[in-house]
Symmetry: C2
Subunit: 147 residues, 2 copies
Amino acid sequence: MNDENNRNEPCPIARSLAFAGDAWSLLILRDAHAGLTRFDQFRKSLGIAPTMLTRRLATLTEEGLLEKQRYSEHPPREEYLLTAAGRDFLPVLFMIGEWGRQYRGGGKLVRFFDAENGTEIRAVAVDEVTGAKIGTRPIRMVAPDES
Amino acid sequence: MNDENNRNEPCPIARSLAFAGDAWSLLILRDAHAGLTRFDQFRKSLGIAPTMLTRRLATLTEEGLLEKQRYSEHPPREEYLLTAAGRDFLPVLFMIGEWGRQYRGGGKLVRFFDAENGTEIRAVAVDEVTGAKIGTRPIRMVAPDES
DNA sequence: GGTGTTACTATCAAATTGAAACGAACGATA
DNA sequence: TATCGTTCGTTTCAATTTGATAGTAACACC
């Protein structure tokens, strides 16, 4: 779907989708958050064709969500690490996961816990100002002025 | 990517991506939240080919995020309304938007305000239990037991 | 020398996408 | 009655994307 167009849309959602509107990329990011860094780790975890993986890793790197780091000179080997932008994508993944848990939750599911106090994490999106859950209060959308 | 497999993965993110790992679907949901309901409204808003739109609307309907409602018998006309599952997808869209605002925010952007008190909405994902922002505390992942 | 590991690239058939044109059912206008 | 416009699609088909499989390059280990 022409991603280049989305890049200049006034809608921040459309802009994000220019790279994130693709399941493989999101699953790679998920695995990166889970600690995977290397080509073959991703490949085995996802069962993705290597051509796809090469392309997706390249895109995510270009887009600034991952960065390549050399971890061996001989032979030359690189691993993919999350950048700040990549780490800040975690809330998106959690909200996607929360929706899946609620509406596609049959059978066994992976669960997430706060490592320090052991409580299960229940992600909710709130408005930082009012503290209200997103979706519980009416929203007004304002387009940027055309000037 | 084979979506049918994802559907039975233990990861709730993968499960959601079985239908949402696609930019068009997310943009349709965005527009549905903005109040659009009809085929041609979506088509014009998105510039999507009608073939694609037909398919995406059908998938979103099958998946239970939208529902078809007849609004005219003669001629037979239907509109697409958000279901509860579709409405509950809003937090995901907001978090995607928030990331885009932070990392792809150049130029003019649409903004969202609380319609009642006029403050701009800043969506953040927090853990409902601890109140901490997602990503600020260490997370432990627990796979379901294999039994 | 042989085997294994890692990180890819090459090839190519199959599936998906998207642009464009067409259609069916009506309602409104002249 | 004829024609135009609207809505919600379907048909067709070329171009792109995909994913499965195989191959490669550069080493390390024994």
